[in-house]
Amino acid sequence: MSQNRRDFLKTFAAIGTTAATLTAVTPNIAKGSSRRELSIDRKGVLVDTTVCIGCGKCEWACKTAHNMEAGNFDDYSSQLTDGSQRRPSENALTVVNQIDTSIMNSDKVKLQCMHCDHPACESACIVSAITKQENGAVTWDTDKCIGCRYCMVACPFQIPAFEYQKALDPKIVKCDFCYDRTKEGKLPACVEICPVGALTYGTREELLIEAKRRISKDPDKYFDHVFGEYEVGGTSWLYLAENNLVNKVFPKLGTNTAPGVSESIQHGLFAYFVPPVALYALLGGVMWLSKNKDKNEGGH
């Protein structure tokens, strides 16, 4: 029995050491990446919905740039006026909807991934397949993804789509801010093709200044709010519109970062592995004490 107890202590000490090492080695994992600095030069797109004519060329260009079935570019504008409120899906990374088809030429809103500054999907992804790149793009790594769809649960804008119909190699599909194109110095495909310049690509900072300039210059034309400036901690895509887009196009979201309290809880539970190790020690202690008590009683 004494042999056993010595073993117990020995092993316990070994576990303690291992845990301490783990703690020392992995603080960056436990602490998480969302607290990293965002680049000041990160890019964004300013969407001026009052300018958009709903031609759907951006949808076509997007599909073409991403090697998706694009069809004829003449057929896109007619989808806009049938009143359907389409969503980005596995077949289209971006769509343009007219919000209220009963009012002629009312705001038309292009929808795609907002490329949050603090993306919930990045925080949620079990294998770190989603990354907020330095240039602002939130990209997805096919080779890592296990297809758990937790990013879809997490996304406040309900953007990521999934290829449910594929038995093998189904993918999460969402706008990648044309990461491959912008790396080469090209504009995102949608921005490049937009005939009326409803989309403006630039650093997020400059775009915010420009957005506010437009509002102050034309207060009658614009609703006084740049959607995406503060929502869910800021998004790379910013929207100007004639009317308030909240509740019509976008859900009502606070200004807290998209992962919300989830990360704080997660880090609270695993702050340098202290709580688990403490619990382990506590339970070990209880076990040892009750064992002794048991033995003493048994000895009688």
Binding site: N28, V127, I146, V153, Q158, Q165, L279
Partner: protein, 414 residues
């Protein structure tokens, strides 16, 4: 009326009419599973871009993990607190937990789109992700459970190794290996037992953190920052009712007398645990003032009321009554109600509460999804039945034996 107990293999024959019904259900589930792997998730489920998670996550995984809580709660009670009285129920609880978690892993395996990458979380880490935490903990805990189960395997085969045919000559070697394994396990088992409890506490709560990131997509009746705590507390409170339910079911099924005195005293723990859970749930509701939503009358509030009233308050009252605790039927019904409550809670958290902003239609599980879920449950029961026939799991009363030696579990601290 102290009896001595010893775990024995069950001798009753395997096939009964119920077993055949369960086999049919399991086969049906397997059929749809095959469809899922050949034609994709979309061909079997009602999942879409609005509702990425259905009952395979909400029930198979979330509720499955909760219901397997019996494993760690009884381990904590029996091994860590050394309440020797409850040793008889540790093995069945362990087996349930082991099978439960195996099927949780299976649930995850069939639900994820790229199942061949299921090992990725082991090498690609994301400390921010609650799911990563759940995944890692569950993976480790499943291994721990298998290790905890190993002594039962060694106990079964030591001295009885009898390999067929030409393998006969290895009998001695295998026997020796088993003995070595047994000795090694005996010395280190306490590590795994404590680890099992710690891991359970961690991932039971992290399972609650999972849906917090859904933020405003989740109905405020359920969405709260204390979700992890509620999940942990509810897991605590469902552990014992699950063990009680199983024990009674197994007794009935194998024609044994239920070990009522053990179960009754086990049931004494349930009311306080349920009470704490209820207090936190109601307290949270009042602090966040979400009770205003109960003024509406719709499917969401009905589900919430069912969950709390039928699943928590009624069984709480039942477990407080000594009369109920001392009757097999009372215990059985009360335990079933607690289980119902927790299953409802997990279902509500993952499915009822999830209201995506652009949903065009609400989610209802398809026939295929239900078939697979039921199939998993049926398979679990069938394997449980098979295991108790192969391994000494369920304790039977024996006579003329010293109390201590007889119910000692290999691997427990000696």
């Amino acid at each position: 009326m102290e009896h001595a107990f010893k775990p024995e293999q069950m001798t009753k024959k395997y096939f009964t009419p119920w077993v055949i019904v369960l086999s049919a259900i399991a086969l049906n589930g397997l059929g749809f599973l095959a469809m899922r792997f050949f034609f994709g998730i979309g061909s079997v489920t009602n999942l879409n871009n609005q509702f990425p998670w259905g009952i395979w996550i909400g029930l198979d995984v979330a509720a499955g993990v909760a219901l397997a809580a019996g494993g760690f709660t009884t381990a904590a009670l029996g091994h860590i607190m050394h309440r020797d009285k409850y040793e008889t129920i540790i093995r069945p609880a362990l087996l349930t937990a082991m099978l439960g978690y195996t099927f949780v892993a299976m649930g995850v395996f069939v639900d994820i789109g790229r199942w061949y990458y299921i090992w990725h979380p082991l090498v690609m880490w994301n400390g921010n992700s609650a799911l990563f935490e759940v995944g890692i903990c569950v993976m480790i805990y499943v291994s721990v459970l298998y290790i905890e189960f190993l002594p039962i395997v060694t106990e079964r085969f030591i001295g009885k190794v009898n390999l067929p045919g030409f393998l006969k000559k290895f009998n001695l070697l295998v026997d020796g290996l088993l003995r070595k394994l047994d000795r090694g396990l005996e010395k280190t088992m306490f590590i795994f037992i404590i680890a099992g409890v710690v891991l359970s506490c961690l991932h039971q709560s992290s399972l609650g953190t999972l849906m917090i990131i859904a933020g405003p997509k989740m109905h405020p009746l359920w969405q709260t920052p204390v979700l992890p705590l509620l999940f942990l507390l509810s897991a605590f409170s469902v552990g014992f009712p699950m063990v009680i339910m199983e024990s009674i079911s197994a007794s009935k099924s194998f024609g044994l007398k239920p070990e009522l005195d053990v179960l009754s005293s086990l049931a004494k723990f349930v009311a306080p645990l349920l009470g704490i859970y209820l207090a936190f749930k109601i307290g949270d509701m009042f602090i966040r003032e979400t009770f205003v939503y109960l003024a509406e009358f719709n499917s969401t509030t009905i589900m919430f009321t069912l969950e709390v009233v039928v699943g928590v308050i009624i069984p709480l009252r039942m477990f407080l009554s000594a009369a109920v605790r001392n009757s097999t039927t009372g215990l059985y019904i009360a335990s079933l109600l607690v289980i119902f409550g927790i299953v409802m809670n997990r279902f509500n958290n993952f499915i009822t509460a999830y209201n995506p902003p652009y949903a065009v239609e609400s989610y209802f599980p398809s026939f295929g999804e239900i078939s697979v879920t039921l199939g998993f449950v049926a398979m679990e029961i069938l394997i449980y039945r098979l295991f108790v026939k192969i391994f000494p799991i369920i304790s039977l009363p024996i006579k003329n034996a010293g109390l201590k030696a007889k119910y000692a579990i290999r691997g427990g601290l000696k």
